[in-house]
């Protein structure tokens, strides 16, 4: 990984004394609040993630794993409880501040390889850097090319994203999630739609970045074999988390 240039515009996060990257206290999440169909999905989650941890999230379908990840990733807000990310209490931040914090410190990988089809593989990897800086630069391109090389797709880097196979797209998505050299990567069933071999490849990539860069990873999976290879596993059952 030494050949990957630093992300331009990335905010360097000072190492916390406790090295706690994410802290949830009594986080609740209800949907359709104030309507007859109001449902609480998360019923008070306490959770801390430490720097460099690779943590699996398991649980039955509909138990609230994605909801939890979206809250940790600042895409959604809890209805109650507190969320501290990189030492910053987030419940009082506005959308602008959350977006900025997210952009510079958190990378996402989703289940259905969400690439932007109008762009090539390389351009997709450049996107987060481009969005943050406003203009493209040579350094950006070099960093993206390095990441693409790391996920083994240099030969495909100029293909439009839609023309790649599912496994290739997911590897591009991993490279994109790492573009800003984030302290935290949230992967919501990134291997769910892949065959065993591609799933293994994607998992190995995330694990490698985690070990080489000290990136904290939250990894949702239904696959016990992959979960067994993580540092720890959180079970989300009926909106409650347990180890």
């Amino acid at each position: 990984m030494a050949d990957v240039a630093p992300a331009s515009g990335a905010v360097t996060v000072p190492p916390l004394a406790s090295a706690v990257v994410v802290q949830l206290r009594g986080v609740r999440k209800a949907f359709n609040v104030g309507t007859p169909i109001e449902t609480e999905v998360l019923h008070g989650i306490d959770l801390s993630l430490h720097k460099g941890e690779f943590c699996a999230v398991m649980g039955p379908s509909g138990s609230g794993k994605s909801t939890l990840l979206n809250i940790v990733g600042l895409l959604d807000r809890p209805t109650a409880g507190t969320l501290t990310v990189f030492g910053e209490e987030t419940t009082t931040l506005d959308d602008r501040a959350l977006t900025r914090l997210r952009g510079h410190n958190i990378g996402f990988v989703f289940q259905n390889h969400h690439l932007i089809t109008a762009f090539s593989a390389l351009e997709n990897v450049m996107m987060p850097m481009l969005g943050a800086a406003g203009f493209a630069s040579k350094a950006m391109r070099q960093r993206a090319a390095g990441l693409i090389e790391n996920v083994g797709l240099t030969a495909w880097q100029n293909n439009l994203a839609g023309n790649l196979s599912g496994g290739q797209q997911q590897r591009v998505a991993v490279a994109r999630a790492l573009a800003m050299n984030p302290a935290l990567v949230l992967a919501d069933e990134p291997t769910g739609n892949l065959d065993t071999r591609s799933a293994d490849e994607v998992f190995a990539l995330l694990r490698r970045f985690n070990q080489e860069q000290g990136t904290t990873v939250l990894f949702v999976t239904h696959n016990p074999a992959l979960a067994a290879r993580c540092d720890k596993t959180i079970q989300v059952i009926d909106g409650l988390a347990s180890k």
């Binding site: 895409l75 959308d95 996402f108 109008a118 351009e123 996107m127 987060p128 203009f135 493209a136």
Partner: protein, 413 residues
């Protein structure tokens, strides 16, 4: 690959539009047709107006100064001066005799000193009878100072035979009159007036004013000749004035009246009918522009609404990557602006093509163009600017919707 000088929002907007292919093409064509119609119609209308104005102003001055009309006065019984009642009044408009403008030399000097005024030319005009053998025709005689008058109406350019140099015994007549009387350059004509004056003048030039009536009736002689013929020694019946800004003529006319007390009519006042027609056309044109603009706006807006739906997943992903609401808003505003701009570029091309075809095929019977058309860069600039602004405005609602998408919902799809 991304160019380093193109901002993020532009890159995404252009890529989204390019990816839209047919959808983008269709709306651009739609905008282009609308803009093309506006460009063509506007150019045609302003061409027509300019042509009319050119024709009117090549044959007359911008402002005429006229002597006061003699007004009718009621007869009053002198004894009852205190009694305002009018008894047995006989009110009859008096016969309009030829009258000179009082102190016209002083008035002319005063007007000539005004900065807006370019030419002041005195004219002594009246009716007369021209006789040749047994034939006679009623004519109107205009006594002019050629040096001044030709700067207002370029008679020299309209002379078809002979020349426009006028001495005291010379006369210019129109082609129709020449034909009616069977005279040509060098022939002599006897001119008489109702008061009994008779002079003999030599035809030195025959002109074509482009109007049959004018070619039949109008004649020009030297100012002194007309003065003695019409019984107006030293007097003039009008002062013809041209100004720098033809559209400001009415204002100048009013200023002249205020300053000199002489009645002044501008071409704008005497062409009131024309201006009423122009204003009606302009209103209609504005209404058409407005409604075409409206349909362009709705077309762009509806396409962008579709794009927002199509791209909502991608918008969610971009938001997850740290792209702000403001950036998403600008991406979609730009798409609207770019659709408007590219549509108006294509539309200007369509409009120009239509104008060229019009000029080529819409012709007078003799093959000359109906009227010269100018390609006004201001028209195209305005079309581009307005269409781009319309696109931006139309994109506002869809863009706001895109910016406010909940990323969680957008990503779940």
């Amino acid at each position: 690959m991304f160019k380093p000088w193109i901002p993020f929002e532009w890159i995404v907007a252009i890529r989204f539009l390019r990816e839209g292919r047919l959808q983008t093409l269709f709306i651009v064509v739609g905008v282009a047709i609308g803009v093309g119609v506006i460009v063509f119609m506007s150019a045609l209308l302003s061409g027509l107006q300019a042509n009319f104005i050119r024709r009117v102003l090549s044959a007359q001055a911008h402002i005429h100064l006229l002597p006061p009309k003699e007004v009718a006065r009621a007869l009053r019984r002198g004894a009852d001066a205190g009694n305002r009642e009018v008894e047995g009044a006989i009110v009859q408009p008096p016969l309009q005799r030829l009258k000179s403008i009082d102190q016209w030399q002083a008035v002319a000097e005063q007007i000539r000193a005004m900065p807006e005024v370019t030419v002041v030319s005195p004219v002594a005009g009246g009716s007369a009878l021209v006789v040749r053998g047994s034939a006679s025709r009623a004519i109107s005689v205009a006594g002019i100072e050629p040096d001044q008058y030709y700067r207002i109406v370029d008679i020299n350019a309209k002379i078809v035979r002979g020349n426009g140099r006028l001495t005291a015994t010379d006369m210019l007549i129109g082609t129709e009159l020449a034909d009616d009387l069977g005279v040509d350059v060098g022939d002599k004509l006897r001119v008489t007036t109702a008061s009994g004056a008779i002079i003999t003048l030599t035809v030195v030039g025959i002109f074509d004013l482009g109007n049959k009536g004018a070619n039949q009736r109008s004649t020009f002689v030297a100012l002194h000749t007309a003065q003695s013929l019409l019984g107006l020694p030293g007097g003039v019946t009008s002062l013809e004035v041209t100004v720098r800004d033809v559209y400001g003529a009415e204002v100048v006319a009013q200023r002249i009246t205020a300053a000199t007390g002489v009645e002044a009519d501008s071409w704008i006042k005497t062409s009131a009918q024309f201006f009423a027609a122009v204003s009606a056309q302009t209103t209609a044109n504005t209404a058409i522009r407005f409604f075409v603009g409206l349909s362009v706006a709705f077309g762009i807006a509806s396409v962008l609404v579709v794009v927002v739906v199509q791209k909502s997943r991608e918008i969610g992903i971009l938001r997850a990557m740290g792209v702000s609401q403001g950036q998403i808003l600008r991406v979609f505003l730009l798409q609207g602006g770019l659709l408007g701009l590219s549509g108006s570029v294509a539309g200007s091309a369509i409009g120009s093509l239509a104008l060229l075809l019009w000029q080529r095929y819409a012709r007078n019977a003799d093959g000359t163009p109906l009227f010269p058309m100018t390609f006004d860069p201001a028209l195209f600039t305005a079309a581009l600017l307005l269409a781009t602004l319309t696109g931006l405005a139309a994109a506002f609602a869809p863009a706001l919707r895109a910016a406010r998408l909940d990323p969680v919902v957008a990503i779940r799809g």
